[in-house]
């Protein structure tokens, strides 16, 4: 929640910063979060304390954090970027060697009373680090193979550690976040074209590895891909979730079945209804109108961020905003694509709502 306004011509200090807070962004964020509150209230069957109240507390806390972060001078964050990145990587390595196992994946690191999920932290620190890196790097060297390789290594190393946990979704988000900063920093389009070719080759390789001794993905990951490619194959098995999600979404129609009237969510046919698939409950109860409205709000947040980045005089700030906005986009884009049956089920939540 730290993508605060940097559309400032001169650097205000102290309380004067309040005047420069990007209120449009705050409004949009609050609007999206409110939709989330309503929807959580609805899927809990009118139970305010179950999901809505904690979500409100979290949002309130995040808002406070956002302002606090915003009032900290920019240079502090820039100086901290390298350190934050280093800490993330060390913690990820800690997970690799000492992490506890939950739900078939090693994601948690327990230090004393603290339970940390370093992969989550890395999503932010990678953006911070990449923004700082390109702020530091001379613009003319951005597309130099060496410096591109350094950036690639900085992104892929933590992503690889997360992937090994294994948490494919987060690894992809880390790669995506870093790549977006590289892209807006101006890395030559030739690299992106090349990446597309290599990526295609890699995907082919992954599929070729299936069932061999050097299999690159876990079995359940392959099964998720299968379920995505043909959900009807196994309606009660691994595709049950996505089938029920599609039914919820599709049955909403134009204007939905009404607040708290979604049968799929109310009667528990829809799994993970308050997390990954909350968009489907919205689509079911509010219909095409409601789901499109939420999408427009998200686009509004993106637009505000992009405008802010373009207006920003600070390269670091602009890169940071775009990176975080890009990350935000990855979240809701991947989540929505997933729940609409356009992408595999990777367990990415809908930001600000679920």
């Amino acid at each position: 929640m730290s993508y605060l306004e940097y559309n400032i011509k001169r650097t205000p200090t102290g309380l004067a910063k309040v005047l420069y807070v990007n209120w449009a962004l705050v409004l949009l964020l609050s609007a999206v979060a409110s939709i989330g509150f309503l929807q959580l209230y609805s899927v809990s069957g009118g139970n305010f304390e179950r999901w809505t109240e904690p979500q409100m507390q979290r949002f309130g806390f995040a808002l406070v954090v956002m302002f606090v972060v915003g009032f900290v001078p920019l240079w502090f964050w820039r100086s901290m970027a390298g350190l934050a990145y280093a800490v993330s990587v060390i913690l990820l390595l800690g997970v690799e060697f000492f992490g506890s196992i939950g739900m078939g994946a090693q994601r948690w690191l327990v230090i004393g009373p603290l339970r940390l999920q370093p992969s989550e932290m890395t999503k932010i620190t990678i953006i911070l680090a990449m923004a700082a890196y390109y702020d530091w790097l001379d613009v003319s060297k951005v597309s130099h193979p060496l410096w591109v390789a350094v950036a690639g290594a900085l992104i892929l190393f933590p992503a690889f550690l997360v992937f090994k946990q294994p948490d494919l979704g987060t690894a992809l988000i880390i790669v995506g976040g870093g790549a977006i900063v590289m892209f807006v920093a101006g890395v030559s389009l030739w690299y992106w074209g090349g990446m597309a070719v290599i990526g295609g080759g890699l995907v082919s390789l992954v599929f070729a590895s299936r069932g061999t001794s050097w299999q690159l993905l876990r079995d359940y990951q392959f099964r998720r891909i299968d379920a995505f490619l043909d959900p009807s194959l196994d309606p009660l098995g691994s595709s049950y979730n996505i089938n029920q999600a599609m039914i919820a979404l599709g049955s909403g129609g134009w204007s939905g079945r009404g607040f708290m009237q979604g049968t799929q969510s109310r009667l528990n046919f829809l799994p993970e209804k308050h997390t990954d698939f909350i968009f489907n409950t919205l689509a079911e109860e509010m219909g095409f109108v409601g789901s499109t409205f939420l999408l427009v709000l998200y686009l509004g947040i993106l637009a505000v961020c992009i405008v802010a980045a373009i207006q920003s005089k600070h390269r670091f700030a602009a890169l940071l905003i775009l990176g975080i906005a890009g990350n935000f986009f990855l979240y809701f884009g991947v989540n929505m694509a997933m729940v609409m049956g356009l992408g595999p089920v990777v367990g990415v939540p809908l930001p600000l709502v679920s």
């Binding site: 240079w75 820039r78 702020d135 001379d138 613009v139 977006i180 892209f183 807006v184 920093a185 101006g186 029920q244 599609m246 039914i247 919820a248 979404l249 599709g250 049955s251 909403g252 129609g253 134009w254 049968t263 799929q264 109310r266 009667l267 528990n268 046919f269 689509a283 219909g287 095409f288 789901s291 499109t292 999408l295 998200y298 686009l299 993106l302 637009a303 992009i306 980045a309 373009i310 005089k313 600070h314 390269r315 670091f316 602009a318 890169l319 775009l322 890009g326 986009f329 884009g333 929505m336 694509a337 609409m340 049956g341 356009l342």
Partner: protein, 649 residues
Amino acid sequence: MKRPARDNEDSERLISRRAALLGGAQLVFAGVLVLRLRALQLGQAEEYRLLADENRINIRLLPPSRGVIQDRAGAVLAANVQNYRVVLVREDAGAPRPALERLAQIIPLTPEQIDRAEREVMRNRPFVPVTVVDQLNWEEVARIAANAPAMPGISPEVGFSRFYPFGPEFAHTVGYVGPVSERDLAERETVDPLLTIPRFQIGKIGVEREREEDLRGSAGHRRIEVNAVGREMRELDRQEGRPGSLVQLTLDRPLQAFSLARLGEESAAAVVMEIATGNILALASSPSFDPNLFVRGISVADFNALRDNDHRPMSNKAVQGAYPPGSTFKMVTALAAFDAGLASPEERVFCPGYLEVSDRRFHCWNRNGHGRVNLTSALSESCDVYFYDLAQRVGIDRINAMAERLGLGIRYDLPLSGISSGLNPSREWKRVRRGAEWVVGDTINASIGQGYVLTTPLQLTVMTARLATNRVIQPRLVQAVDGVEQPIPEQPALGLSPAALAQVQRGMWEVTNSQRGTAYSSRIVTDDMRMAGKTGTSQVFSITAAERASGIRRQDQLPWNRRDHALFVCYAPDVAPRYAVTVVVEHGGGGSSVAAPIARDIVLAAQAGGLPPLEAYPQPQRNRIETMLREIESRIGPPASPNGLRGRA
């Protein structure tokens, strides 16, 4: 953070360009999402709405109440009574075993019942009520209700079960219901979904089975909303089914009760038909059994006792029992001859006590012979030789045809189980089934209802009714369905020669009214109730030459199952007959001594519409008869009430 201005500007332009590019790409992606939403939510909304409804809406059947079966006067023969049962809901009761053991302290439960209930509880989802025991009495229900606070998840419920107030009286005709078996399902092409309801009961034998479709009615249904694990959330709508039809039979409860009681302990059958309509007023098969045992689930011991009884209580002898008709068949032989013009009723035949045919001697029952006999005396005295003589002239083909004309060898379409067609033998039949040619000895045996001929009491009743009227009488058992009168079968003329039939009727009249008649002692003395009939005593085993040489043993010296069957057919009154009655007593001995007195009592009861009037009996018999009737009356009880019955499924 200080940089050369130019550098900054370049960098800013680059970032802006790339930011715009990124924003554009994001917009395109968002566009794809919107298109996808449009396709799913607007294009395929109907389809998905249907799928969502399929998910959440379940249809539960509402079993209709089963149709009641009544007798001709409206007495209820098969009723639906409230059945109290106790159910257990696992999610409220917690672990089923301790809950059931607590229940066992309040009402009697066997360890098997506890085990079975526990298994069933664990097999179902936690919110499904499972019946632990049913057929509880009021006291037990009250005890469970009083202890309800201490036993969460256990509650009494009320349902309906079948009850037969007259117990054994209608066990064979009305039949009974029982749970649907695999076989019941296998023998049906399309299965009514009702049959798949646990503990649903369908007719197993008798009218309950044969009129199942009428009695069952059709299921109603309620649409309920369920959640993902199948728990009912609410009822959306409900449509009541059509209850089963009321089936009214032609049977007359008092007469049926009297007939069955009169048969007593014998292995016997009696049929009473109202001639004008063909209505079966009584169809008794003795001994009988209590059909209520089967509804509740009969115990192995009870079932074995019924199965192993040599008097075959579960067989409906009135329609399933096929017996050699013996002398009751003689009317057929006589009419076959007269109808073909091969003999005249006045013609006399000399009976020396036997007849030699192709070196074989066929004996008359009277070893001393009857002397010169004509048709009427041959019938009334039941001379066998007379009919041997006719048989030689007539041949089996005409006898076979006449037997069929009179209704023998035919399987009547009544709603009863296992109706036998008897056996009306022919040359063709013997060639196909026995692989041998018909010989004259076969005809001679058949002429007196022995040999291959087999008839059921129902068929003999039809025959008697046709002899009494010269009309084609058809039996009828269902009087009305839901108050709609069922058609009475047409009774076209049978077309027998009136003169010949009159002589046969005269012979039958003399059987019971002439001093020389074989059933004279079973006569009725009231003029407007007089009966005409024919005795029959049919051998079960052929008498060997050695046995004959050593002198025929008396019946009571033979083991029960080798004794003769005793038969009697009759109609009454003798003028404008109204009732035809057949009585067959298996291994009863003589038709005149055993079957005829029973038939007389029954036909008198039919005519009197109650107990037989004493004045209809010859004076010297009245004291004995009065004692007997009083004893029978005491055995006919009022309808039982379901509360008087104990035991559970």
